[in-house]
């Protein structure tokens, strides 16, 4: 049985978290993500979970990392200023491979910027925000039902690959209300299971990958497998190792545990692309404009399609290269001065023209505005 509801994107994230088995949230209130904290404060204890409003943004992700070490599925939510503060903890989660989900409902930045207006200015910060080379997954919903689905997926990916997963939203998606059909009973939703060691505790190498994969099994604190978490470069034992070889080996595994599995991780939606000669690329809130603009273009007989990266990082390299072989031109539309377009240009490598429709005036573009840009780019 299911129920049909009218929910905000932020509320759908909350239901996705509950359905995914999230049992801990630590965070700090910030517009436009606050509804996620408020609703989880209500919902988590109902399912035996715990909510904490922490003293600051840093502690928000810190408590999440701690709860994850203790075996709980854990998440936090924030927006630009808070996301900046979370970068330090994000790096720890990357190198220590602690599963966690961070929702970033983007607003206009930098600094306090425009707290209640939509933007997509954190595409590059999401990838490169914390210091040092590091690898993580970023996915971006563009509808309320997808907020639910991708929260489930974010939890599943973080548990499967033992890395932080960022659910990159924007004010439009967070605050927009849409119809959503939710199951009455979340018990039937498959739960992501963290890989547990199968060896005896005394044989456990915390970062040893006993099954030959690149993702080590993770025993919760208190389970009898005593191990060491560190933000220092470490070897398979989990203890610090200062050699160049150890650094390289660590970086290689942390990178390839994701890049070896791009088929599993990277999702891209194609809309009216079958016979398209020109493609719009957009994601998140900007995708809403693109569906409509492409329909309008089609109604005028223009062979335009829409490619929507759902996975922002790792970058949909192969999909963008394939796209360049299919169409005569690409228009990237994003709510910033041009961030994702840099990656598209790199992947396309001059094979076809790539243009940008950058919108950074606190408003989403209208479909008519985007259509005009499409026509300009096609001309």
């Amino acid at each position: 049985m299911s129920r049909i509801l009218l929910l905000q994107g932020n509320q759908a994230v909350v239901e996705g978290a509950i359905a995914a088995g999230v049992k801990f949230y630590g965070g700090y209130p910030i517009t436009p993500s606050t509804e996620i904290a408020e609703q989880l404060a209500l919902r988590l204890p109902q399912v035996g979970g715990k909510f904490m409003q922490t003293e600051d943004e840093i502690a928000g992700l810190g408590t999440v990392i701690g709860a994850s070490m203790a075996g709980k599925k854990a998440m936090t939510a924030t927006s630009g200023p808070g996301f900046s503060l979370k970068q330090e903890m994000l790096g720890l989660a990357c190198i220590a491979e602690i599963p966690c989900v961070i929702v970033n409902v983007q607003r206009v930045g930098p600094a306090t910027g425009q707290p209640t207006s939509p933007a997509q200015g954190e595409v590059m910060q999401t990838r490169w925000g914390t210091h040092g080379d590091h690898w993580l997954i970023t996915i971006s919903p563009s509808s309320v039902p997808e907020c639910f689905e991708l929260t489930l997926r974010a939890v599943a990916l973080s548990e499967k690959y033992r890395c932080p997963v960022i659910l990159l939203m924007d004010e439009v998606i967070g605050h927009m209300r849409e119809k959503i059909e939710l199951p009455d009973n979340y018990d039937e939703i498959p739960q992501a299971e963290r890989k547990m060691p199968t060896c005896a505790p005394e044989e456990y190498l915390a970062y040893g990958c006993e099954d030959g994969s690149k993702v080590p099994a993770m025993a919760p604190f208190g389970s009898g497998y005593r191990w060491h978490v560190t933000g220092l470069v470490h070897d398979e034992t989990g203890f610090p190792k200062g050699t160049g070889a150890a650094t390289k080996e660590s970086q290689d595994r942390l990178r390839t545990k994701l890049t070896d599995n791009l088929d599993d991780i990277v999702q891209v939606e194609n809309y009216r692309m079958e016979d398209a000669e020109f493609a719009v690329v957009a994601f998140g809130g900007a995708a809403r404009t693109a569906y409509e603009a492409v329909d309008m273009a089609r109604a005028e007989g223009l062979k335009v399609g829409f490619v929507r990266p759902i996975t922002i990082w790792p970058f949909a390299e192969k999909q963008m290269q394939d796209l360049a072989g299919k169409v005569k031109g690409i228009l990237v539309h994003e709510l910033n001065c041009g961030q994702y377009v840099l990656e598209v240009e790199r992947a396309v490598a001059g094979k076809v023209p790539v243009s940008l429709f950058a919108k950074y005036d606190n408003e989403s573009a209208t479909p008519a505005e985007l259509l005009a840009e499409i026509k300009k780019a096609m001309a």
Binding site: F24, G26, L42, P45, Q46, G48, K50, M52, T54, E55, D56, I58, A59, G62, T63, V64, I65, G66, A67, S68, M69, A70, G71, K72, A74, E88, M89, L92, A96, P220, F221, G222, S223, G224, R226, W227, H228, V229, T230, G231, L232, F239, P240
Partner: protein, 281 residues
């Protein structure tokens, strides 16, 4: 084997010693005292988590055979809070230096204390940033020399325990690396206490603090602790004038300075929230 060798065999990780600390450093004494306190409390190793921040003292977690984490500078308390919330059965002990705990981690300190969450925080107070080579911390006594205060510090230091108590800590104690049996005792009581416990341990950094401040070698710095740490029972017998003289001479009380068992512990309080939520209240 000696008692300490037995404890090392039982509680330290094989192959992780020797430690990185300098000769004369108090960190080994404090870490040894934590292990003795855990042994005294009879805790199973699987039921103990040791969470540390960054700095010399925070390296302690890696040597110890428990559920351990050497996290980020100043951030041990939030991560320890998450561990405790994730598994309240764990006895969570936090090892933090004076810089880690009172400077970059100061906000986390007052809020962990305010919540009265059942963590045992051991502050390794050597009055200096040791790992980076002798910069002043919020616990460096005013007038001391440091590499970043070559003409002496003009900043007063925190009264850390008064700060923690005012913020809401329900167990407040102090020890030194000279008075070891007493130190073990106050850590053990802190572990047994259900609520936020803070134990400040006055320690010596002969290399990065002692040298700059002409305090002599490790033995002289130990004697300084002997001569300045005053047992709480003795301290309490002093009249106000004597106390003022002692404080002016740099003396401080050691022992359990405050304990309040009437404040509800945070994870226990949250369990009641879960019950209320599930009953729909």
């Amino acid at each position: 084997m000696s008692v300490m060798e037995d404890l090392i065999a039982k509680y330290f990780r094989p192959g992780r010693l020797p430690h990185i600390w300098c000769p004369g450093c108090g960190n080994g004494v404090i870490t040894g005292a934590i292990v003795k306190a855990i042994d005294k409390q009879g805790l199973a190793k699987d039921d103990v988590a040791i969470i540390s921040g960054i700095g010399c003292s925070s390296r302690s977690s890696g040597y110890l055979d428990f559920n351990t984490a050497n996290t980020l500078h100043g951030r041990a308390l939030p991560i320890a809070t998450g561990v405790k919330m994730g598994n309240p059965k764990l006895n969570v002990i936090v090892c933090s230096g004076d810089g880690d705990c009172t400077a970059i981690g100061g906000n986390h300190l007052i809020h962990a204390a305010r919540r009265n969450i059942d963590l045992t925080l051991v502050v390794y107070n050597n009055s200096i940033y040791g790992m980076t080579g002798g910069q002043y911390s919020p616990m460096t006594p005013k007038g001391s020399k440091a590499t970043t205060a070559p003409y002496a510090t003009i900043e007063p230091s925190f009264n850390l325990l008064a700060l923690a108590q005012a913020a809401g800590a329900t167990y407040v104690a102090r020890g030194t690396t000279y008075h070891v049996p007493q130190l073990v005792d106050v850590i053990a009581k802190g572990i047994a206490h259900k609520g936020f416990s803070i134990i400040e341990v006055v320690s010596a950094c002969p290399i990065s603090f002692g040298r700059q401040n002409k305090m002599g070698g490790p033995a002289q710095m130990m004697m300084w602790q002997r001569d300045h740490g005053v047992l709480k029972a003795v301290w309490d017998r002093m009249d106000e004038e004597k106390k003022a003289e002692a404080i002016a001479a740099g003396k401080f009380p050691i022992g359990v300075l405050y304990e309040n068992n009437d404040v509800q512990e945070y994870t226990a309080a949250y369990d009641e929230i879960i019950k209320r939520a599930q009953e729909g209240k």
